[in-house]
Symmetry: none
C-alpha cells in the first residue's frame, strides 16, 4: 500500500489513502476509523507518522478526533471549506465527494466579446472552449463552459479530460498556476438544455457562476460559466472584515 522509497512522504501517502477511502464512501461520516496504533502497525510505520496524516486531515475538516475515544470521519460539514481557488474536481474532493467530468465539447471557437474582455485578448484570437458535464457518482451536478486562450494551451485539444483535473494539467504542462479568481454567483432558472443535461424539472433553479481566474503573473487565463443544480450545491464563502 505505502511505498517507503517513494519520492512522496509516507505520511502524505497515508493521508491521501485515507482521503480516498472517505471520498469513495468506504468510510462514511460518523464512522470510527482505525486507531493511530492500528494504522502504525498495519502499515508498519511509526505512530507519529500516522498521526501526522491524521492531524492534517483533521485540520482540513475531514476527520474529527475525540481523546479517549478515537478518530471519526467528520460529517460533511460546512465549517472548513472557505473560498479556496480550486477547480471543480478539487472542490468536490475537499468536500469528501468523488466527482467525474464528461466532456461535451472541446473545440476552437471565435471568442465571444465577454470572453475577450475577461481574458484581455484581441479579437480574432482563438480560444478553446471546453464544455463539461460534472457529476458525482451518476448524478449530474453542473454544466460548465470553460474558455482558455488558445495561444497558451496549444496542445490542450489532445488531452483526455475524463476524470482529470484541468487545473492540475495547467500547472504541470502549461506553467499556469491558478493564483486568484474573481467570481460572481447568481440565481436563475435553468435553460432547456440545462434542464435535460442536468436531469432536473422544467423551471428548476440553478446557481449561475462566472469566474475569471488569474495565473501567477496576474494574467487572466480562464473564463468559466457554470450552472449548478440548486438542489445539490451551495457556494460556501468566508467573509472577513477589513
Amino acid at each position: 500500500m505505502l511505498n517507503k522509497n517513494y519520492p512522496l512522504p509516507i505520511y502524505y501517502q497515508l493521508k491521501e489513502l485515507i482521503r480516498e477511502k472517505i471520498v469513495a464512501r468506504e468510510w462514511q461520516p460518523g464512522d470510527l476509523i482505525p486507531s493511530e496504533r492500528e494504522l502504525s502497525e498495519q502499515y508498519d510505520i511509526s505512530r507519529m507518522t500516522a498521526r501526522q496524516a491524521l492531524t492534517e486531515l483533521t485540520n482540513e475538516g475531514l476527520l474529527h478526533r475525540v481523546q479517549g475515544k478515537g478518530t471519526f470521519v467528520a460529517e460533511p460539514k460546512i465549517e472548513q471549506p472557505l473560498t479556496r481557488l480550486t477547480g471543480f474536481t478539487e472542490d468536490m474532493r475537499m468536500r469528501g465527494v468523488q466527482s467525474k467530468g464528461h466532456v461535451l465539447r472541446l473545440e476552437l471557437v471565435a471568442s465571444p466579446t465577454l470572453v475577450l474582455r475577461a481574458l484581455r485578448i484581441m479579437p480574432n484570437q482563438p480560444v478553446v472552449l471546453l464544455e463539461r458535464l460534472r457529476l458525482t457518482g451518476a448524478d449530474p451536478i453542473a454544466l460548465e463552459a470553460c474558455y482558455l486562450h488558445f495561444n497558451r494551451v496549444q496542445s490542450l485539444m489532445q488531452e483526455n479530460f475524463e476524470g482529470i483535473s484541468l487545473y492540475n494539467l495547467l500547472i504541470e504542462k502549461y506553467d499556469i498556476t491558478p493564483t486568484r479568481a474573481e467570481q460572481q454567483v447568481g440565481a436563475d432558472l435553468c435553460s432547456r438544455r440545462e434542464q435535460e443535461l442536468l436531469n432536473i424539472a422544467k423551471g428548476s433553479p440553478v446557481l449561475r457562476n462566472k469566474r475569471v481566474a488569474f495565473d501567477q503573473r496576474g494574467q487572466p487565463f480562464e473564463y468559466t460559466e457554470s450552472a449548478y443544480r440548486a438542489d445539490r450545491y451551495v457556494f460556501q464563502a468566508e467573509l472577513v472584515a477589513l
Copy 2:
C-alpha cells in the same frame, strides 16, 4: 519563561509566547525568527515540541517557513481578504447604490434549532428576530431575517432601523465588531410570501443566503437568512489559492 509543570502544554505556552512577540511588534513581518534548534536549546525543550508550536502558528498564517533558510514572521496578508464582511447597507454602498430598509418584524421569538446551533446558545434563551425588506430606491431587492442573541442586544427593540445600518449600531452601542462570517449561497424558487414582498413573478428564482457572523472575540452573534431577487443581485467573491 516556560513552565513545564503548568497545566498548559509546553508547545502551547511557546506558541502563545511567540504570538505575543509578533503582536507586540518585537518580531516584525519579514523578520527571521530563531531556528527550531535554537528555540529548543533556549527553552530546554525537544526540537519536536518547538516545532509543534511553529507548525500551528504557520497554519494560522502568522509564520512562514522556508526549508534551508528559516522561519519568518508572515507579512500581514494583503491578498487575504476574500470577500468583505459587510452588512447590506455597506454592501450596496460599495456598489454605489443607495439603499433603504423597511422593518417588517422586530420581536422576541423562541429560537429555532438552527439558530440555537449557529449562535451557540442554550434552548429557552430568547433571540431577537429582525425582519427587513431591503430596497434600492423603490425597488425591493431582498428579504432578510436576522436573528440576534437577546442577552447581547437587550435594548435593540427600541432602535429605529429605517435607513440605519445594523452593523454600525452593533459596533457603536453594543461592543460587537463584526469580524468574520461564514456564508452559504444557494439558489431556490421564491416562496409565496417572497413573491409578494419582492414584487416578482411566481416561480422566480432567488439567491438564498445563510450567514453566521462572528464578533471580535470569535463569538457568533448573528444568524441571517436572506432571499435576494436573482434579477437584481449577484454575489461577488474573490478566491485565492493557498
